[in-house]
């Protein structure tokens, strides 16, 4: 009985270990990806790096700033997640995480978002 119980304990440990590996390798990244907060700081960077090349005044895509749309309009835009007159998915320009960060940045600075001005900036 004692041996059986010991064997059973070892099996449990192995199972828990394997379970942790599977969890940390597969489940955890998904959970983190779904639950982690989008970054406005990174969104601003990706917007400037990826979007502003075409979306400045006089450029091919026309000027786009966060103020171009309201929060609801940005939300709608990112629901379809397509650009270039809806001819291609945004994933062609940026990764999904980058799109999520850019969406957070644009939402936070949209035309109807609260964004009080400050001193000396």
């Amino acid at each position: 009985m004692k041996e059986k119980r010991a064997l059973s304990g070892t099996t449990k440990i192995v199972m828990i270990f394997l379970g942790l590996i599977i969890y940390s390798g597969l489940v955890l990244p998904l959970a983190m990806s779904a639950g982690s907060k989008p970054s406005e700081t990174k969104g601003r960077y990706y917007f400037r790096q990826n979007c502003k090349t075409c979306h400045t005044k006089g450029a091919v895509g026309g000027e786009i700033t966060p103020l171009t749309r309201t929060q609801a309009q940005w939300k709608l835009y990112f629901t379809t997640a397509k650009h270039n007159r809806r001819s291609e998915p945004l994933s062609k320009v940026m990764s999904d995480d980058q799109v999520r960060d850019v969406a957070a940045y644009l939402d936070a600075h949209a035309a109807d978002s609260p964004q009080p001005e400050t001193c000396g900036k």
Binding site: K37, S39, E40, T41, K42, R44, Y45, R48, Q49, L67, T70, A111, D112, P114, Q115, P116, E117, T118, C119, G120, K121
Partner: protein, 725 residues
């Protein structure tokens, strides 16, 4: 230029600042080559003696700055340099400036230091910051700063370190104004004082406390163009002396005055109906709301006659759109400051002065490029001041300084144990100095970057000496406004001591904190990226030669006056009634609540500035100090009699925050229920030799109090007892 020549040039004595500014410099701009002998260099750059950033030209002889002249090419500077601008030389040549890194060897505040190499200072600070991070997380560090062109590098160091706790000077400054105008118009406009015909000011003592080119617009308006100036202030200031009408308003009741003006203008159909209908929302709620606030009611609150309130309201609406209730450049005085500013904004809106000549004009900008640096992960922890909970509408990156200090002292929601401070003096800038000293005492580490041994530096563990503004290159700055201007600050001499720029100090620390990847650029790369969008053939060469650039075609009026224009507000209109305020449990229209009044035997402490001094920063500048070497406590003759003191007697002044000893100045020019003192004296740092233990510091008396919506420090909410000693 020696001190004697300086005084002569500045028209001498206490009137120097104003006299200099009103001199021929404004009305007949400085001629660039006038003062230049052969062999001298003229190098354009940008002043840093206050926030205004005027363009100046340094006259340099063999690596020594001889003089700072105005730069006539910057329309915003109006060809003037004020007393402070002239005294900028002392920032470089004052023997008391910080000359090398210092590490504390005595107790905090004891003033014992040892010189250190830069490597020693960086290693010491990085080790302390890392230890705090290890024990308390990155949120255990606080990064505070005031505005300057290199502030961005310092803030980015704090953010890349992982701290959510960057706190700027805004809640000691204009946060209530900025928030109120942003909530109403979606932006903070400029006031076209140059073309106004009717100007009302609550407090903002522009002709005495802050002599800049836009002060000269006000002078021009009231003298040359005969605009009317209506001025409300418990003191008879220099501005009061130049006003057409001065009302010694009962402190804290300005909101009642404005609400009664609204009552008259709406009740008598004197508002701009077309403008209100086209561009605003919430007028019906406003009209209902202000029916209760009659001039007769306001007379009882403000002690200003009802007939005068009604007349001023009528004159104001008659003069519109060239009429402004001027926000001015002053901080919050009372806990209702946001709502008082909202009422000003609403009053300006309904007379239709928005985007009109002589009214309020949305600021024009010049688009600069941007150096793209690697972004870091956003901080995981919430802010220590719990801004989202306490001040949900406040500017996120600025924080709320006094609430932050309360939470840090209480250790909630988590401990903060390291404090890095960039060109700011919380010891004097924050009310209730005893609390600031306690907060400093709670820290495992305090590091200060500055050019002088401020009172806060005096309590630091390590002091990093920054190169002065005349010794360094900064990022290019844009001054938005009615005349948007780009200004360039370049070194006019090499650093004369062992100092560094903020970027170099940040990079030195970043290297040791393993954050170099976020600061892997030079100031030249940063500036190049900024200027490449300017419509100039060789932008940087232009800025080096001229010190400034401004696009043609300004001022422009009416660019937002199209029915389809969307204001940056929730509704897209100018919001007289604010749904956003209502949603966040604030009053959606300004509601008057009578302010507390001093009990018998006590006085309301009120503060002020002189134009020679930038807050507490330049009182130790020898040239400027000579204009006002000591502060005194103003008391009305009847108050002095009740206390039993005469002019020059010493008194002890006590509040719940602390007590000071100071000489009395008996003055007719103040209400009997108030006591006044000038800011910036009674320093603790012995290196501030001209003001150390000279006069007294208001920060030792002021109690902790803030505006309820913006979190801005409320500086006139302290009652003091005065006794003879």
């Amino acid at each position: 230029m020696n001190r004697r020549r300086f005084l002569k040039f500045s028209a001498g004595g206490a009137a120097g600042a104003a006299a200099l500014a009103t001199s021929a410099a404004y009305f007949a701009p400085f001629q660039k080559k006038q003062a230049i002998a052969s062999g001298l260099q003229e190098i354009p750059t940008t002043c840093e003696m206050c926030v205004n950033k005027c363009s100046v030209i340094a006259v340099v002889n063999n690596g020594v700055i001889q003089k700072l002249n105005p730069n006539p090419e910057n329309p915003r500077s109006r060809g003037m340099v004020c007393a402070r601008g002239n005294a900028g030389l002392q920032e470089v040549y004052d023997s008391a400036r910080l000359k090398r890194p210092l590490i504390r060897v005595g107790a905090r505040g004891e003033g014992k230091w040892r010189p250190a190499t830069w490597d020693e200072a960086f290693d010491f600070a990085a080790q302390k910051l890392s230890a705090v991070k290890e024990k308390f997380g990155p949120q255990g560090s606080l990064w505070s700063s005031s505005e300057s062109f290199q502030e961005v590098f310092f803030q980015n160091l704090g953010l890349s370190f992982g701290s959510p706790n960057t706190v700027r000077h805004a809640t000691l400054c204009l946060a209530s104004v900025n928030l109120a105008y942003s909530a109403t118009f979606g932006t903070v406009p400029s006031f076209d004082l140059l073309n106004s015909k009717y100007i009302i000011m609550s407090g903002a003592n522009r002709l005495e406390s802050f002599i800049t080119p836009d002060t000269m617009d006000l002078v021009g308006s009231t003298t040359d163009r005969k605009a009317r100036l209506i001025y409300l202030d418990p003191r008879f200031t220099v501005t009061a002396s130049k006003a057409d009408e001065w009302y010694p308003i009962k402190p804290g009741t300005d909101l009642a005055f404005i609400l009664a003006m609204l009552n008259v203008i709406v009740g008598e159909n004197r508002y701009d109906k077309e403008f209100v209908a086209t561009y605003t929302t919430g007028f019906e709620q406003l009209a209902d709301h202000i029916k209760q606030y009659t001039p007769e009611w306001a007379e009882k609150e403000t002690e200003i006659p009802a007939k005068d309130i009604a007349r001023v309201a009528r004159e104001f609406s008659d003069a519109a759109p060239r009429a402004v209730y001027y926000a001015g450049r002053r901080s919050s005085w009372y806990q209702n400051d946001f709502q008082m500013r909202r009422a000003q904004a609403i009053l300006n809106a309904i007379v239709g002065n928005w985007d009109r000549q002589g009214g309020m004009v949305p600021n024009a900008h010049v688009e600069l490029g941007e150096y793209l640096f690697l972004p870091w992960d956003d901080p995981a922890a919430p802010r220590v001041d719990e801004l989202d909970k306490n001040f949900p509408l406040a500017a996120k990156g600025d924080g709320a300084y006094l609430k932050l200090r309360e939470n840090v002292l209480a250790g909630t929601p988590y401990p903060v144990k390291a404090w890095m401070i960039h060109k700011q003096d919380p010891m004097n800038a924050l009310p209730d100095q005893a609390k600031t000293i306690r907060m400093l005492g709670q820290m495992d580490f305090v590091g200060v970057i500055d050019i002088q041994m401020s009172d806060t530096a005096w309590y630091a563990d390590v002091v990093f000496p920054e190169s002065s503004y005349l010794e360094r290159q900064d990022p290019v700055g844009v001054l938005p406004g009615i005349w948007p201007v780009v200004v360039y600050r370049q070194p006019v001499i090499k650093p004369i001591h062992d100092t560094k720029t903020t970027l170099e100090i940040v990079q030195g620390l970043a290297k040791r904190l393993n954050l170099s990847q976020y600061f892997d650029y030079t100031i030249d790369q940063w500036v190049d990226a900024q200027v490449k969008t300017l419509p100039l053939d060789i932008p940087l060469e232009h800025l080096k030669k001229h010190g400034t650039y401004f696009p043609s075609g300004f001022p422009k009026y009416g660019t937002t006056l199209t029915p389809d224009h969307r204001f940056v507000t929730k509704s897209g209109k100018i919001e007289l009634f604010s749904e956003r305020l209502q949603e966040t449990n604030y009053e959606p229209l300004p509601v008057y609540h009578p302010p507390a009044q001093p009990t018998a035997g006590k006085f309301r402490l009120i503060l002020g500035r002189k134009a020679y001094f930038t807050h507490a920063n330049t009182t130790n500048n020898p040239w400027l100090n000579s204009f006002a070497p000591e502060n005194r406590l103003w008391l009305h003759p009847s108050s002095a009699q009740s206390v039993g003191v005469a002019d020059g007697d010493r008194v002890e002044v006590t509040s719940s925050a602390g007590s000071i000893r100071i000489k009395v100045a008996v003055k007719q020019e103040i209400r009997p229920d108030c006591a006044f003192m000038l800011h910036g004296f009674g320093k603790r740092s012995k290196w501030q030799r001209l003001v150390a233990d000279v006069g007294a510091s208001d920060a030792q008396l002021l109690e902790t109090s803030w505006d309820k919506v913006s979190g801005n420090a409320a500086l006139h909410e302290t009652f003091v007892k005065v006794v003879r000693v």
